[in-house]
Every structure is written in structure tokens, then in C-alpha cells.
Symmetry: C2
Amino acid sequence: MGRKNKKGKVEAIANINEDFSAWYVDVVRQAKLADYTSLKGCMVIRPYGFALWENMKAVLDKMIKDTGHVNASFPLFIPESLLQKEADHVEGFAPEVAWVTHGGDKELEERVAIRPTSEAIICSIYSKWVQSYRDLPILINQWANVVRWEKVTRLFLRTTEFHWQEGHTCHRTEDEALVEARKMLDVYESFYQDFLAVPVLKGLKSESEKFAGARSTFSVEALMQDGKALQAGTTHDLGQHFAKVFDITFLDEDETSKHVWQTSWGLSTRSIGALIMTHGDERGLRLPPKVAPVQIIIIPILFDDSREETLKYCNYVKEILSDYRVELDESDKSPGWKFAEAELRGIPLRLEIGPRDMKVDQVTMARRDTGDKRPVLVEDLAKQVGECLEDIQRELLTQALKYREEHTFTVATLDELAEQLTEQRGFYHAPWCGDAACETAVKEKTKATIRCLPFDQPKDKGNCLVCGKPAQHQAIFARAY
Amino acid sequence: MGRKNKKGKVEAIANINEDFSAWYVDVVRQAKLADYTSLKGCMVIRPYGFALWENMKAVLDKMIKDTGHVNASFPLFIPESLLQKEADHVEGFAPEVAWVTHGGDKELEERVAIRPTSEAIICSIYSKWVQSYRDLPILINQWANVVRWEKVTRLFLRTTEFHWQEGHTCHRTEDEALVEARKMLDVYESFYQDFLAVPVLKGLKSESEKFAGARSTFSVEALMQDGKALQAGTTHDLGQHFAKVFDITFLDEDETSKHVWQTSWGLSTRSIGALIMTHGDERGLRLPPKVAPVQIIIIPILFDDSREETLKYCNYVKEILSDYRVELDESDKSPGWKFAEAELRGIPLRLEIGPRDMKVDQVTMARRDTGDKRPVLVEDLAKQVGECLEDIQRELLTQALKYREEHTFTVATLDELAEQLTEQRGFYHAPWCGDAACETAVKEKTKATIRCLPFDQPKDKGNCLVCGKPAQHQAIFARAY
């Protein structure tokens, strides 16, 4: 983007309707959110992308703290013997673990895993911290990097190293843990809907899709503009599986020793991918004002005889808007180039200021979401900008909800699902008997998987789309990232 | 600390004057700042310690941004071939690098290092980003975990994995890079003195102590209460060493291709160790109010007949102080136990509230730094608390400066240094010819190293403490962590 381009305009990005995948990579790289490095699957998050992530982190961190959690930091490394303690867990993660075998010139006595997730190391530590019911609940979160040696990678969506937060909690009762797992799912829902303007569905994962070692996994699922679903965050009711394996016990008020009940929950830099693929359009990113690194860009329309004066006026306007995240583009690019670049970067509001605007004490305000453009008097600017940013935030959610509604269908049989999916991807509600064989049959025929089993279930669930037996659930099927 | 203790008081900590090392570990563990894990040298930073680090990070992050830098995130991994490109650099770090050799079941074609520091990976990326003088300067920082496989470890001071920020900048001119390296050293000085109340000396490192691959290394050096020095942060003028090896070139305005000039600079969780060892006393931590996770603790003096009323009053007082970080200790421990625990945790201000205080609308305010105790009317409380916290912040710095002054000496010969060091550790100013052999002679005889060469040098430097030749520098020697 920008300087290296001799043509004086931004590089073309792939057409979003023709090649969504190419569009995605183009947007991520040309908007300078992130880029590949020489090491396969490892990305660099560039300053613009990282500023976005910092804003998202700040929002989620506050929500996590407001629900009573505190942050801590656990080791990057997990000794192999610890990771192997919980059988399902190691089976689920072993194929993608990166192993450290040498420290300096010395071969280690026991090789250590780089955490793919931290249940094993954290549970081994909790077993020392928890003694009495008075030590409960333990409500700890950490922001960390984790590593999963992936074969196929894509910027933000699936990378060898990624950043996330992982909460790990211990409770006195089974019920309390379940309430926690559901509560954090609500937090994730609110984070997506209220801040990223990304609508999500909540529900229970099927047995085959649940977290390795969990009793139940819940997820929030978003629908991208290519009709594919994205698992956007998960919370796990771990039951007492890990507590038993890692011996996390407490002396209860009744003087008997009991195992704790646990949860874990995580949300990663993948959420940036969800944001991009929910809101982007043919011109690039569209960022929700609440998390946009730059909410307003001021673009001066410069002429030789009024250059200084215009820039001075732009700085004055910037000053007025100091409650917002404002950038003034003083570079020597043409206004058209700057407009295109601001659109590519998804900046919610653009203010154009030229000599004609200045004469009548106004600026031209353009919205990234709708393209609407109108003059605003400088004396009204701070108020108008505030209202407009709120409106953009709402509008992005409205548009995304509309897209989801238009791409949500109900089908009764596998044939129907297969046929419709060839024409139109999206969320497909269908009855399911609960049998893994039927789930597999769907996957083999349509590549669609069960995204989740929604919490609100109809009374009459009909008959399984595959075997025709009475359905246990109304499931949501989709092709997914 | 606390609950597991049947005696109803906090566990004893080692005597600070008799065994400083044991005192340090006791304080870190019993105040629940951090603890060891089953993996040698890897620590867990517990919620109280992490809240302290979060406050410190917030302060330093703002200072880094206010000086024009932006954050980004670079990969955890460095392919071996990249790390080996700069000869001095790899030689300096190779002995302590953790190597990943396997991803899942597959042996990697090329093993990858876990970053011990990120110059190699970042320079390889910068070589793509920098093309024109218009791309300069690049002013990027990252908050990251790094790994150095250490033989001897100590909580916060030297751990296998640690957290830090590392800045990596590229400049058009030699002079601009030098200015940057010195500017960030000033930022570190201000961070320590103005926020942690830890006085530091600034200066140039000797050749033998400089960063592997740097042209010059500058450092801030603090003096701990056992008279040992702690290197508390470093900035490096990298010259063009890395730029040449990694081919970071730009087309200058004069149309010629040039290598950039670089700096890097880092400050780590070691700073928490500096904080503890500068201010702690026989009762535990003493935390500077500006970064203390809890600035004020309210301890109710409870009696059966006024319990509810007292707690209600305490909550009312807490409400009044909502601009501060306040904790109300409602646990069922005795007041004496709570006092000792609050002291161990280094909470700057303690408010005691009992029925007698309530009757006259006052609280008893006790300072952690001096132990002073006095009644304060509730109507004056917010103001008094604010002033008192400021005074504590000042007082901690004053005490630390006084300690440093009392432990700073000037010597003329190696014999003098050796003799004085057996009685009293501290900073020793001495003339040095600049020859590494003399530096080594000092180290072998006294275990003291050159901490830095201060920027302000006397005109008449005297003769080298070892060889007697004319001194090039007035150096500061000390035994160090």
C-alpha cells in the first residue's frame, strides 16, 4: 500500500465476490494488519493490526475483570510427562505440539512442549494452591501466546503461533462451574456483538467437536460473508477430569476431601479474522468505531496558495476532536489516493477539509459504512461525529444481522441440505438424532459440520436429517473455517 | 501466607539483614507475587505480582508511545539460519537458546530457536519493510516473552522464560540512532525514578559487558539493599551491524542506497526484582503508590455487637476513596494478622476502622513506609489520602537515594577496592584505563565488574586502579546480580 506504488493509488485487492479467500489475504496485507514471515505459519502483526488487537484486548480484559477474574502468567513450557497425564487431552493436542529438545548445546532429560493450551501446566500449579473451600473459587485469566504446529495456515485464522486469553477456573460445585462456563460464553457474545458488531450464535458443541478433555464445550459461532461459519470463541465445562488427574482437591466445610470442578475458556487473534470477514467490502476493511485504531481521518485538500492555512485549520479540527482517535494525513499523496487508502484501512469516518470548506467553517464528513457524505459545521462537529460513530457501530451490526438472516435456512433431510448447500452457503438448522454416525454422514456428503446445538430448542424437534429417527436436537450445520 | 497457617499469623520471613537472599525469596513467595513451578527456572507470576506488572507495563507503555513508538508482535520463533547470520550475536546467545526440533511427530528440516531476543527475526522483516527514506524512522516496540536457558535462576531476576518489552528502531542517520538510544535510556531512568522510586545511574557499558552484536550498550544501574548492583535496563546503539547482515537498505533522497542505523532496547520483569530489593524491609514489601496493585487497605475492627454497622461504614469509606485502588479485608482473620499481611504485601496505606473511630467520624491511617499512624476525619479523608500517597512515593525515593549515597565510594587502587569491598558493598567510582585486562583483573580479585561508565566524567580522571596508566574513564564498579 502506498509509497512503493508508482501509479499514485492503492494496489488493487481481489474482488470480494469472485475470490473471497484472495480478497481476505489482500486486505490483511495491504491494510498492513499482518504479514507472513520466512517461517511457515508464523505471522507478524503489524502496528495497525496490533493497535486493533490492543483495543479489542482492552475491551475484553475489562469484561473479564468486571466478572471477578484476575490476570496471571503461567509458563510457556509444559514438561512432556505433565501433558500426557490426561489421555484425551494429549491425544487431541499431541499431533500439533512443538517440542523443545535442547537448551543450548545440551539435550534435555525430558523434552518440553510449548503450550498448545495451558490446562496441564495450570492444573499442576492449582493442585498446590487449592487446599480448602476457602481458596475457592479460583478465577484466573492469562493473555498468552500459544503454539500449534498447523499444516495449513492463514493469517489470523490459523497460525502456528497465536495470541489469546485463556481463563482457568476452579469451583466448589458442579453447578457453579457450569454457571461460569455459560457466563463467559455470554461475555464472548457481548464482546462480539456490542463491540465488534459481529453477531454470534451460542450453543453446545457435539461430542466430536468438543475440546480434548472437556465434559462439554460451548461456542459462539459467526457467519462470514462467504457463507462459511467461524468458531469465534469457546468455553469448556471440564467437570472433574483434570482435577482427578492432577489431584486438585480441597477440604470442604464438611471436613471431607473433594475434587474441584473446573472450566476453561479462550478467545484468540482469530477474532480479528472474524471482524474482517464480517464487515469488509470491495474497497477493504470496515472497522467498528469502538475498536478501530483510527476512528476519524482528516484529509486536507491542499492547494499551493492555501496549503499552510489548510493544514493549520485541519490541526485545529483535530484538536476539537481530541476525545476520539484521530489521524491527520499530511502526506504528499493525492486526495483520491488518501481516500482509497483510508477506505482500505476501514477508518469509520473521513473528514475532508479544503479552502471552500474553511470559508464557511465546515468540513465534509464521509461514512465508510454507507458512503454517505455531507457537510457539517465545525461548531457542531464534536457532537455530530459522536452520533455518527455510534450510528456506524449500530449500522455494521444491522447489516451483519441482515446478512446472517438471509443466509440462515431450515432443512429436513440430508439431500435437501446437500442440494441447497451447492447453491448457497450459510447456517442450516436441521434435526439430529445425536448419533456421531449421522454427523459424519453429513460431513462426508456436504463438508458441513455441526457448529453448535443452540440452547433454545423447539419442543417438536422432528426426525434426524440422516437416519430419520426422532431428533434429540435441532442442530446448526455449516461449512466452517 | 494466611489461611493454611494454624497459628493465626503470617509466616515468618528470613531476616533481611542476616540473609538477604532468603529474605527475597520468602517475600516474593509469601506475598504471592510469584512462585516456582515443576519446570526448573520457569516461574508463575501470581495475580498479585501480575497486577503489579500490569501497572508497571501501563506506565512504561504510555511513555514508549508518548515518545512516538508503536507496538507490534513478531514471531516467537527464529530459524537457526537467521539467528546465525550475525556472528557476535549468535555467539553471545547460542549457549542459552532453547531449540525446537519437532512439530508433532515430525522432525523439522531446520531447527528453530525460541527467541532469546528478537533482533534477528525483526531485522529479517524490516529488510522487506524499508525501501525508501520515507519509510524511516521505524519506531516499533513489542511486549513479549523470551527464553534463555539459564543454569542458575532466581524469581524475577533470572528466569528461563521472562517477559519484557523490546524496542527495535531503524534510522536514516548515525546520529539519529544514537539520539534514540540515549532518549530511551532517559525513559527508563524516568520510569524507575518517577514511578518505581528506584534511583538509577546511567552510563555506557564497557566492551566486555555490551550486548552481543551492538556497537555500544547503555544501561541504567540500580543499587540493591545488599549493596549489589542490578542492571535494570539496557539500550543499544546497533550501528549498521545488523543492517548489513540482514540487508536493510533504503534509497535516500540523494538517490543512493544506504544501510539503516539501528537501535534496540529492553526492560524486563527483572524490574520487579529491583523494586522489591530497593524498598523491602524486615516486614516485607514496600510498594510505591504509583504502581501498587492495592494502594489502600481498609481493615475493620470488628466486635460482635457492631459488626454489620462497622462493615457498612467501611464500605462507605471505600466508596469515598473510589479514585484509588482500595481493598477492604472482610476475612475472618484477627486484625493483627491482617495488619501483618498488609505489611508483607507492601500496601502503602492502611486504614483501621472500629466502633470508636466511627463514633467520631474518623479512621486511623497508618503508613507502610514510616509506620506513622494518625487519626483522620472522614470528611478530610480523600484529600489526606491523596497527599499521603504522594508523600510515600517521595519518601521511598528519598530513602533509596540516601541508601545509595551512603553506599557510594571512591577508590584509587585495586587493593583499596578489594579491601573496602570486604567490609561494605556498593558503587565504587575508580579510574580505569579502558583496557579489558585491567577490567578482568578487578573482577578476578574482587568479583566486582564495571557497571557503567557515567556520561558525566571528571576532567581529571587520575590513573587506572590496576595498571596505573592514565585513566580514560571514571568507571563504576560493583558486585552485581
